[in-house]
């Protein structure tokens, strides 16, 4: 089957009504989740994955794609209307979104943010479509040793680059690896750390871990800020200005620049949409003839931020789909959605399920393209009552949704207890500065790393040096060393800057 045939087969599949409905529901659900301050796209996907459990994989992935794109865009709505970014990647949207809303142009700002998100998302989707298949072909040449190093590189880069504290990031990775060892050893069949608890023989359910780590901590945070941050209903009114923004061509250079920045940032492991949005905003401001107008209600400021953070979406999935190594937290959660349906992301998936992979890529493009339709001004008017929901109600609802979701996976009350346990653990770790994404990555990549390492050692008859002998392995080891040395270099540079202020 040629690529063209696969693409047409994928298009036929995604145009079926079930897929279209799932994508639509996903986008609307994602926008709602992203629009509620404190809730993120990662959390939305994590707690809604159980809902997709009974669906066909393609329908489920369409919904996941919708939640992802919708969730990242949704953050712009409260950023513009309330000055509260729904997600961290919408922070730069507040810089110009709020001044625009104050001068009665909230409608224009929302239209620009929806279209910019769509442009960024579609561009990112095409980058995934163009870059992932050839990269997957290259990674087919990898053997067990190379896969072991890839897994190690993925974990190290996320642990070091994602959080503010590399040491705590590495500890989080270690905790994830440890949790991943609980259950039956896939190679020898022996039980490990099960404490004779029957439910633990299969290990912790990955979705329970995700829902616990990503669903409960925001709910506990919401509970603590519920009283102090009640949203003023009057402020969510969308004022329509006398003039409707029509100068779309003036945004084309901003969209092109921000799309490029977002795509590149997305491919880099551990960087993420927040950085993409800030960089896009700064570059647009720097390139503009009137940089002083930024922060005072410049349309390009909103466009740059929203285009940049959505251009990161699909491209962040390139390492996930080609190597099976997620580059950030949301990619790890999406990988979980694949795993729930028995699909192992990686080059093998392009061979075993080509139509499904291409359909998912097209779903990423399509769900981004329909953002202006489902998330424009009219839709926001419909969502406005939800924005007025008190946080004191959202917090228990998130818990309730997580509970019913994890129970419905395998009808196990033990999973509910595990959910609460992981939720508390996640909350405490987050508050003490330990990032959560490396834990998830450790749980996903740990078993893969162990399996590949043991396989490589069996193939080489126990020769440890042989796992580092190929060129690809050596390159990967060098990259790991580079990533691990990065904090040391940063520390030394910081020390030099303190000694010599000119270096700052």
């Amino acid at each position: 089957m040629s690529i063209i045939d696969i693409l047409f087969a994928a298009i036929r599949e995604i145009l079926m009504w079930q897929n279209l409905a799932a994508m639509g529901v996903g986008v609307v659900g994602g926008i709602l989740i992203g629009a509620l301050p404190g809730l993120t796209a990662t959390m939305g996907i994590a707690i809604l994955i159980p809902l997709t459990f009974t669906m066909e994989p393609m329908v489920a992935l369409g919904m996941v794609a919708g939640i992802y794109n919708g969730g990242i865009y949704g953050g712009a709505i409260p950023a513009i209307l309330l000055g509260i970014p729904g997600t961290s990647s919408s922070i730069p949207t507040t810089f110009d979104g709020v001044p625009l809303a104050k001068r009665g142009e909230a409608g224009n700002a929302l239209r620009i943010s929806a279209w910019s998100s769509a442009v960024g998302g579609v561009a990112s989707g095409f980058s995934l479509l163009l870059l992932a298949p050839p990269l997957a072909t290259v990674t087919l040449l990898f053997g067990p040793a190379e896969y072991f190093w890839v897994a190690l590189f993925g974990m190290c880069s996320i642990a070091i680059l994602l959080g503010a504290d590399p040491l705590k990031g590495l500890i989080s990775s270690g905790l994830g690896l440890l949790i991943g060892t609980i259950g039956i050893d896939s190679v020898s069949g022996h039980e490990r750390f099960t404490l004779d608890i029957y439910y633990l023989t299969g290990g912790f359910n990955f979705i329970v871990l995700l829902a616990g780590l990503y669903g409960l901590p925001p709910a506990i945070e919401l509970a603590q800020t519920a009283i102090s941050q009640q949203i003023d209903a009057a402020r969510t009114a969308i004022k329509e200005s006398e003039h409707r923004f029509t100068d779309w061509p003036s945004l084309f250079p901003t969209w092109a620049r921000s799309s490029m920045i977002g795509i590149v940032i997305g491919i880099l492991p551990g960087v993420g949409g927040t950085m993409a949005a800030f960089l896009s905003y700064n570059e647009t401001k720097r390139a503009d003839k009137d940089p002083e107008s930024f922060g005072k209600g410049n349309y390009k400021g909103v466009a740059a931020s929203e285009c940049g953070n959505n251009a990161d979406n699909a491209s962040a999935l390139i390492p996930t789909l080609t190597l099976g190594v997620p580059g950030n937290a949301v990619a790890a959660v999406i990988m979980g959605a694949f795993l729930v349906h028995g699909l192992q992301p990686g080059p093998g998936l392009f061979r075993s399920e080509p139509v499904l992979v291409y359909a998912f890529i097209l779903q990423m493009i399509l769900t981004a393209a329909i953002l202006p339709l489902l998330g424009g001004t009219i839709a926001v008017r419909v969502f406005a009552p939800v924005l007025r929901l008190p946080q004191s109600l959202i917090a228990p609802i998130v818990i309730s949704l997580s509970v019913i979701g994890v129970y419905s996976i395998q009808n196990s009350v033990f999973d509910i207890y595990a959910l609460i346990g992981f939720g508390l653990l996640g909350y405490i770790l987050q508050r003490t500065g330990f990032p959560l994404a490396p834990i998830v990555l450790g749980v996903i990549l740990g078993p893969m790393a162990e399996q590949q390492l043991r396989l490589a050692l069996i193939i080489s008859r126990g020769d440890v040096l042989s796992i580092a002998s190929s060129t690809v392995s050596m390159i990967l080891i060098a990259l790991i060393a580079l990533v691990l040395l990065l904090p040391v270099v940063r520390m030394l540079m910081g020390r030099r800057a303190r000694i010599d202020p000119k270096l700052k």
């Binding site: 809902l51 009974t54 603590q224 009640q230 109600l393 818990i399 419905s408 508050r431």
Partner: protein, 161 residues
């Protein structure tokens, strides 16, 4: 001027000392490592022990580094306290733990119809009609999706199961 000198008493109370916090975290980690190490003896095959022990050694080394770094951080104030409002935290957490137990015993909908409005009230919602309305709409939507649409088996309800 060091961080120690600039900290006001209120900041110290709210954020806590980062160095000490890291040392407590490291000590807890070491305990976790010890428990896992001890439990690893129960794994009958050496090959199945090897990888977890390797991970445990790495985590233990990192925990020691974290503990030692705590001395260097000294009295530096942490960005945020572990719990910013104990009242809200407990008002949320205790009913949530009870809820997790109750779902399996008396059913999801029976326990949720009590849990959602109660917690919303405890953490500050005083509009009773909004509380009741949103709880009802949420549970109705949940029933439609999980029971009517996807026919997922849920725990037996004590009243109307």
């Amino acid at each position: 001027m060091t961080d120690r000198q600039t900290n006001s008493p209120s900041e110290t109370i709210s954020g806590g000392r980062e160095g000490l916090r890291d040392q407590v975290s490291a000590a807890i980690l070491m305990c976790v490592v010890a428990v896992f190490w001890w439990d690893a003896n129960a794994i009958s095959a050496f090959e199945a022990q090897m990888y977890p022990r390797l991970v445990l050694i790495v985590v233990a080394t990192l925990a020691v580094l974290l503990f030692l770094r705590g001395f260097r951080l000294g009295g530096k104030v942490a960005d945020q306290p572990v719990v910013s409002s104990w009242t809200a935290f407990l008002a949320f957490l205790l009913p949530t733990i009870l809820y997790a137990v109750a779902v399996g015993k008396i059913g999801f909908f029976t326990s949720s119809i009590v849990y959602i409005p109660l917690v919303a009230y405890l953490i500050g919602l005083r509009s009773h009609w909004l509380n009741a309305l949103v709880s009802f709409v949420f549970l109705l939507a949940t029933w439609l999706v999980f029971v009517a649409l996807f026919a997922r088996p849920l725990p037996q309800e004590i009243f109307w199961g």
